[in-house]
């Protein structure tokens, strides 16, 4: 039991617990705030897995921008209290939970499928790359070289999303 394992366990339990609360709380505002807790815990897990830059992005983009957008819409539509009929009845609840459990069983089988030895990098190579190129450089260099075209396509996608959101949400164009 190293320190890393203990910290991993704490944040894993925090992420899963707040995810369950996010799904089960009746009020949409409480749900959104528990989702923020999940995202912060996931950012902590990312740090433990040698992805510090992605952890910062997770806090900035997900916990910051996306969740503020969700809360903004919840408050704009005045959904703060949450309806009594928000969850499905006994039948829907049972079917949903059984389907989710089936999916979990399927995912458990996949857990044994480790990647083949040939394509696996030696342990610690990620930390080494970050030492040489820096936290941001380790991601930025491949992003602007090997993945340049997808990166540019992403910018077009974001532009389309901006235009689409304005067109959909505006009362009269």
């Amino acid at each position: 039991m190293t320190v890393v394992t203990v910290v991993f366990g704490i944040f894993a339990v925090l992420a899963l617990g707040s995810a369950v609360l996010c799904v089960s709380r009746r009020s949409p505002v409480a749900s959104a705030l528990w989702l923020v807790v999940t995202m912060f815990s996931l950012a902590a897990l990312f740090v433990l897995l040698d992805a510090q830059f992605i952890a910062v992005l997770q806090v900035l983009v997900y916990a910051g921008a996306v969740m503020v957008l969700f809360l903004f819409v919840i408050m704009l539509l005045n959904l703060g209290r949450g309806a009594a009929q928000d969850r499905k009845g006994v039948l829907g609840l049972t079917v949903g939970l059984v389907l989710a459990a089936l999916l979990f069983v399927q995912l458990k089988f996949l857990r044994g499928a480790a990647p083949p030895e040939l394509i696996r990098l030696p342990p610690g190579v990620m930390a080494q790359t970050q030492q040489q190129a820096g936290m941001v450089g380790a991601i930025a260099t491949p992003l602007y070289e090997a993945y340049l075209v997808p990166f540019e396509i992403t910018s077009v996608l974001l532009l389309a999303a901006v235009v689409g959101a304005v067109v959909l949400a505006k009362r009269k164009l």
């Binding site: 959904l79 997808p150 389309a160």
Partner: protein, 98 residues
């Protein structure tokens, strides 16, 4: 190495998201559960990036961009539906039901 436990956490997180989509009726909460599933997949990518190279982290970057775009457009759709129907309860949004 934390690969095994991380994949287990990601699987459980994904299943919680699926359960949320299946048992809730509020469109916005279902959206949040979809975000939860995307986050679980991101965790898997990050876990494999440790052993398979930095490409996993770059994919997480793209997933985040797509998720942000999806949230913006999806919430705009919810707003438009609310303006039309005065509710976000999915039982009342059944235009395609036979």
């Amino acid at each position: 190495m934390l690969l095994g436990p991380t994949l287990a956490v990601a699987a459980v997180l994904f299943v919680i998201g699926v359960a949320g989509v299946l048992i809730r009726r509020n469109a916005i909460i279902i959206f949040m559960c979809v975000e939860l599933m995307l986050n679980a997949v991101n965790l898997t990518f990050i876990a494999f990036a440790q052993t398979l190279g930095v490409a996993g982290q770059i994919f997480v970057f793209f997933v985040m961009a797509v998720a942000a775009a999806e949230a913006a457009v999806g919430l705009a759709i919810v707003l438009a539906v609310y303006r039309h129907k005065e509710t976000v309860d999915l039982r009342n949004i059944n235009l395609l039901k036979g």
